[in-house]
Symmetry: C2
Subunit: 452 residues, 2 copies
C-alpha cells in the first residue's frame, strides 16, 4: 500500500478491482450500443411487416347495455376491480373453427405469433368473458394443431363469465340445454364479433367440472383435401384401410422421444372419397380418418406415403412393411404432405352438446359463405393469368404438395432411402445427453463447494 | 483519509467515483438485460412474420453452363468486374403477371416492402440479367398498381444482358422475332425460376430505343371480378356504358393535386359480363374497361358506384350527375371497392410482340393451373366449416367488398353525402402552403444573413 502525490493507491486488490471495473464498464457500454443498434434495426424490419397490419376489424359486441368493452381503460379497471371470485363464472366448452394458414399453430406456448390460441384469448379479454387470467381459468384444449393446419371442430374448455347467478354446471343440464341456458350470454355471437375473420366459435356447452378438453375426448377426425388428377384412388383406399386398427406408427410421425414413449395408436376409420367440388376439370377428393389420438405429424406422414401409392411409385404393401417396426425399426426419410389442406374436422365427447343461437348460426353461415367466395376469387386471378398466357401447350399438373419431382429426378423407393435413427437410438442418445448434463452440473456444484 | 483495520478508505473522491462506477455498472448491466430481452422478443415477432418468410424457392437457372449464379460470391464479384459497358446488352420489354395480395403495390418507391418491382429486381440481379444497377438500366414501367391489385399484363422495359453479340434493337426485327431471337437468353424461363410463386414473366420483346413502357402505351384494360348474387347486371351495364367517352373523372378518383391538374380521361370500352365460373350457386362476373390511362383509384371508385346501382340504392343517372363537374364540383364521400379483385389485364403497344418459348409457356400454364387449384383449396376449408355449422338457417351473402351495411344502417344517397374539397379548393390550399413554406425559408435565410 503506497501513498503518492495526493492520490490514493489502494494497493493490489484495489487497483485490480478498479481497473477490472473500468474494463467491464467499457465492455458494457459497447454492448449496450450494439444492442441498441440491433434493436433499431429489428424495429425497422417489423414496421415493414404486412402481417403485423392484420388487426381485428370487428365491432366488439356489448355484453349488456352498459358495455364493459366500450368503457374507457379507467372504467374497465374499475369494473375489473370486482374481485374475480365474486364474479359469476361457469365452466364452458367452446367449439372452434380456424383457417390455419397464417398462424404459427394452435398453441401459444411456442411464443411464435400469431397463434390461434393467443387470438382467442385476446378476444376473451376484449369481451371481458375471461375473468382473471388464463392460468386461473382452468383452460384445456383438445388438440395442438401445427402451423398452417386448420380445424372445423377444435374444442377448448375454461371458466368464463356467466350472466346467470346459479349457472348449471353438471351434466343433467344437457338434457334441455337450450331451455336452461336462456338468459346466458350468447357466447358464440359475442366472441365472433371480436375474433379475426379466420377464427370462429361454432358453439358452446356447459362442461362438467371433471371435463378436460384433451383427456375427455373420445375420438378425433381429420380430413385431408386434395385434387385427384391422375392419382389412383382405389389403390390409396386399399392402402389407407391398412392403417385401421391398432398399430405402431413410429414410421409415420415425427418422434418426440423426450415426451412420447409409446407410438401405438388406434385408427378406427379410413376412407378416400370424392367431394362434390370440381374445378376446371380437376376433381376434389378427401382422405377421412378417425382415431382416439394421433401422433405429431402422423396424418401428414400417412398422406405423403398414400400419395406415393396413388402416383404408382410405391406399392400398397409398403404400408404393411412400414407398420412392421421389427422389420423397419428406422423411419425412411420422406417429406410430409403440405399442411394447408389438413383439417382437424371434429373432436368427439360424450355428454357434450354444443349450443348455438339461430342468430349466431346465421351469421356464421353467411360468414363462411362469404369467406369461401373471397378465397375463390383469388384463384380466379390465376385462371385469368392462364387465359393471358401466350401459346397453348400441354401442361401436367402436380399440385398436392407431394414431393415435387425435378426434371429427370427419379423416385427413390421408400425402403431404399436413408433412414432416421430408431426410437431406441434416439432414446439412448437423449439419456446419455441428460447424464452428461447431470455430470457437468455435479462437477460445477462440487467445484463451488471446494472453492468456499 | 483514514486507515483502519487493514482496510483502506480511499477518501471522498475515491469513494464517490468508486461508487459512481458501481452505480453505472449496475445500470448498464440492467440496460443490457433489458435490451437483450427486447431484442429476443422482436426477433420472435419477426420470425413469425409471413411476408419475411416468403423466399424465392425456385432453383435459379443457369444462364450458360458455367452458371454465373451458382458461383461463390467471390467468383461472382470477379464475373461482375467486367465493366458493364463491355457486356452485351439490349433494350427489352417484359410482360409481367402478379397476384398483388401480399405486395405493397407494384412500385418500389414507397419503400414499403415487399413490392412487385423490388422482387423483380431481386430476380434480375440474382440471374445476372441486370447489368449494372437499376438506374443505369433505363427502366420504365407501364402502370403503378396499388397495394393488393393484380395484373396479367403489366409491362416494363429496361436494358438486360444479351447473349447475342449484335442483338437486334430496332422495330424491323419484329417481323420475324422468333427466328431472329434464336440463341438469345430464354428471359422468360430464366426469370421465372428466380421469381416467387405470385410473380411471373409471360413474355419478352426487343424494344425500340425510343420505347417507354408508360408513354408508349396506347391502351390499358382493367378487369374487376365479383360474385353476382342479387346485383342487377343490366342496370350496372347501362350505368357503366355512360363512362364511355371523354369525361372529367374527378368524382371517381383520388385527386393528387400536386401532380395531376387534368382529370379528363377517355374510356373506350365498358362491359359487364358473366364468367364461366360458378361456385355453390354463386355466379362469377366481371367488369371490363379500357382506356388510354386511368386516374389514381379510378376503377375502384367507378366500381363502388356501380355496385350501389346494382344493389338498387342508386339510380343509373347518378353516373351522369357525377360526371358533370359543374353540377358536382366536390366528390361525395364513399368507400372504394376492394382492391383484391382488380386486375390490370393488359397494356397495349404498337410494334411490340411478346415472345415466349414453348417450354417456358408450358411451365407457365402448369404453374397457373397449380396455383389456381391451390388457392381454391383454401376456399374449400371454409366450405367444410359451413358444413360443420350447427343448425341450418337462411343466410344473405354480401361479399364484394361493397360498403357493408351494419344492422339497421341505411344507405345515404351519394348526392346527399358530405363531400371532399373541390380541385380548386385543394389547389388553392396547396399553393398557400407552398407560399407559406417559401416565406418561412426566406425569413430564415434573411435571419441567417443578418446574424453573420
Amino acid at each position: 500500500m503506497t501513498m503518492s502525490g495526493g492520490k490514493v493507491d489502494p494497493g493490489g486488490d484495489g487497483r485490480d478491482s478498479g481497473s477490472a471495473k473500468v474494463t467491464e464498464l467499457e465492455s458494457l457500454r459497447h454492448r449496450v450500443k450494439e444492442l441498441e443498434a440491433e434493436n433499431a434495426k429489428l424495429l425497422s424490419l417489423i414496421s415493414s411487416c404486412q402481417c403485423q397490419q392484420m388487426e381485428v376489424k370487428h365491432d366488439v359486441s356489448v355484453l349488456d347495455p352498459g358495455s364493459l368493452v366500450r368503457r374507457s381503460r379507467k372504467a374497465r379497471k374499475r369494473a375489473d376491480s370486482i374481485p374475480s371470485h365474486l364474479v359469476s363464472k361457469r365452466y364452458i366448452a367452446l367449439k372452434i373453427m380456424y383457417f390455419g394458414k397464417r398462424f404459427y399453430g394452435f398453441s401459444a406456448e411456442a411464443q411464435m405469433e400469431p397463434s390461434v390460441e393467443s387470438e382467442i384469448f385476446k378476444a376473451l379479454e376484449r369481451t371481458r368473458l375471461l375473468v382473471g387470467d388464463k392460468k386461473e381459468s382452468n383452460y384445456s384444449r383438445c388438440g395442438r394443431t401445427d402451423k398452417g393446419v386448420s380445424s372445423t371442430g377444435q374444442v377448448i374448455a375454461l371458466f368464463l363469465r356467466s350472466r346467470l347467478k346459479t349457472p348449471s354446471g353438471d351434466s343433467e343440464a344437457h338434457v334441455d340445454a337450450k331451455v336452461n341456458e336462456r338468459g346466458e350470454y350468447d357466447y358464440v355471437r359475442v366472441l365472433n364479433r371480436a375474433l379475426p375473420d379466420d377464427i370462429r366459435v361454432l358453439g358452446w356447452s356447459p362442461a362438467p367440472i371433471d371435463f378436460h378438453a384433451r383427456f375427455s375426448c373420445s375420438a378425433r377426425e381429420y380430413k385431408y383435401f386434395f385434387w385427384r388428377q391422375n392419382l389412383n384412388l382405389s389403390a390409396m383406399d386399399i392402402a389407407g384401410k391398412k392403417f385401421i386398427g391398432e398399430h405402431d406408427f413410429r414410421n409415420f410421425c415425427k418422434m418426440d422421444v423426450a415426451n412420447v414413449h409409446c407410438y401405438t395408436r388406434r385408427v378406427t376409420f379410413f376412407e378416400v372419397s370424392p367431394c362434390q367440388n370440381s374445378h376446371e376439370g380437376a376433381q376434389l377428393c378427401t382422405f377421412t380418418m378417425r382415431g382416439s389420438a394421433f401422433l405429431w405429424h402422423q396424418v401428414r406422414a400417412m398422406v405423403a406415403v398414400l400419395f406415393m401409392i396413388g402416383q404408382g411409385v410405391e406399392s400398397v404393401d409398403v404400408i404393411d412393411t412400414m407398420l412392421d417396426t421389427t422389420k423397419i425399426p428406422r423411419k425412411p426419410q420422406y417429406l410430409l404432405a403440405s399442411e394447408i389442406p389438413l383439417v382437424l374436422r371434429t373432436c368427439e365427447f360424450e355428454n357434450v352438446d354444443f349450443i348455438c343461437s339461430s342468430g349466431a348460426a346465421e351469421s356464421l353461415r353467411t360468414h363462411f359463405k362469404n369467406e369461401s367466395l373471397r378465397y375463390q376469387l383469388e384463384s380466379v386471378i390465376f385462371q385469368e393469368a392462364l387465359r393471358n398466357c401466350l401459346p397453348v401447350g400441354n401442361e401436367k399438373s402436380s399440385c398436392n404438395g407431394v414431393e415435387k419431382k425435378k426434371k429427370g429426378a427419379v423416385h427413390v423407393p421408400l425402403l431404399s432411402r436413408p433412414t432416421e435413427p430408431s426410437y431406441e437410438e434416439r432414446s439412448a442418445k437423449l439419456k446419455s445427453r441428460q447424464q452428461e448434463t447431470c455430470h457437468v452440473l455435479l462437477r460445477k456444484h462440487v467445484k463451488g463447494i471446494l472453492m468456499r
